[in-house]
Assembly symmetry: C2
Homo-oligomer: 273 residues x 2
């Protein structure tokens, strides 16, 4: 199925723009899960089972799996196997490399793991992104204006009166010939979301930075979505995964996800109905 | 040992600025090795044994190991185990992510795998690089002007009369308080090496793009090194790994590496003696 069709379908079915980031830190697991090798998968499984009807996507931060060593690959695979087929999966590795290398990354993410989408770093230019957008069944979310403090170091540099990240957005729009390019814009930059959305009216925008990072949810919904209140994926990670550190972590995660999903829906109703 | 000390020591001992990129493509192995699970490790071992007295570093391109799936982690570990202790190892993943995630990547590369150095993508700013430069035993090579065609898409954008990559170089110099920041500059940009070296007189520069990518070796040596003809790591990958596709691949790789090492030495003698 084409990426955008799959996205629209699951957002409609689950009435949700919420994406949960499975940035599962093995050192932060509830004690009730023990310290066995399978504890991360078990944690992810319980989180997914408790929330998969409330989300449009899960974003798996590859760093947290790589740091598990040899077990990481299997943990990633086993986690992906638990995610219902109709929910979007995003391999969040922010990859970017020369053509023949980017091909290897794209193959690992899309073919071996079966992710629907990936995050990519645009600094190395088009040939580093191209292998990620060969099929319209996949989507590459290009880093434009990221949620972290360091986003101010280079992304806002002045290029002929406009910030660098706008050049990235414009290039991404140009690359979107197969309708399979998206953007990453942090919710921590509420003022920039509207002009970015104007430059890229039909690109999906992945918006991290809600929750622990203190991003602005109302602006994310109002300006991050398209003219129909769609095409945004609003990501929260730690605030959901670690809503409780006790045995009730999955129930607490569901409550947090439900609250966030519904808050997003309220803003959609407010601005788009 | 401090990174720079280790680099100087091995460059002196092996009289070499050569870095070999172990971008081992499982689909390009000599037929004589068969198609067993251990074939990549076996190939790497024979290449390393045939060349480790001719190099200052091996750069392992992580994409080629990730694409091996579950076996990738072990292949990487087993390859690292064969590399002599005195030779620099670079985990070439071009990572870059927000602080808590970059920490996971740095831990995986430096602590779990034991790499001496890593390549990092600066687009997300200082907090994405900082976890890679906490110890002066490690070095982060920051992407400045990469060897690929796409480097022209954004890296040369005009920021107040100077190209973007110079801003990255200047920031890298500022971040170099522990003498453990380096740069990546492609040999495919011979004219830019000299001004970059002027901006960063004491940073090691990793210079890919020699060989298959057609970079300019003479300029790489002349302008990529510091005032003493040091502090450059000149990388070749495919031209050495696949010097022969027959049973004699390791011998052919040695011959190619030797020729390249000696050619580099000739240029060093020409310009720095």
């Amino acid at each position: 199925m084409k990426f955008l069709d799959k996205l629209h379908k699951v957002q409609r079915k689950n009435r949700s723009l919420l994406c949960i980031g499975l940035d599962t830190d093995a050192s932060k697991l509830p004690k009730s899960l023990g310290a066995s090798k399978g504890a991360v998968v078990q944690f992810n499984r319980l989180i997914i089972e408790a929330t998969s009807d409330l989300v449009c996507a899960y974003k798996l931060n590859l760093a947290f799996y790589e740091s598990l060593g040899e077990r990481g690959w299997r943990t990633l695979s086993e986690t992906l196997a638990v995610i219902p087929q109709n929910v979007i999966t995003i391999g969040d590795g922010k990859r970017g490399d020369i053509g023949n290398t980017a091909e290897q990354y794209a193959q690992a993410l899309y073919e071996d793991f079966g992710f629907d989408a990936a995050t990519v770093n645009p600094y190395m230019g088009f040939d580093s992104v191209e292998p990620f957008i060969r099929s319209d069944h996949n989507c590459a979310f290009v880093l434009a204006l990221t949620s972290n403090e360091g986003s101010n170091d280079f992304q806002r540099l002045n290029i002929g009166g406009r910030p660098l990240y706008e050049r990235i957005v414009q290039a991404s729009v140009k690359w979107n010939t197969k309708k399979n390019v998206g953007l990453v814009v942090g919710a921590t930059h509420p003022k920039e979301l509207q002009p970015i959305r104007k430059l890229a009216p039909s690109l999906p925008i992945l918006i991290p930075g809600i929750g622990k990072q203190g991003g602005d949810l109302e602006s994310a919904v109002r300006y991050g979505t398209d003219k129909n209140g769609k095409l945004a994926l609003i990501n929260a990670s730690r605030s959901i995964l670690y809503a409780s550190t006790g045995k009730d972590f999955a129930t607490a995660a569901r409550a947090e996800a439900l609250q966030l999903r519904d808050q997003i829906q309220k803003y959609r109703d407010k601005f788009f109905s």
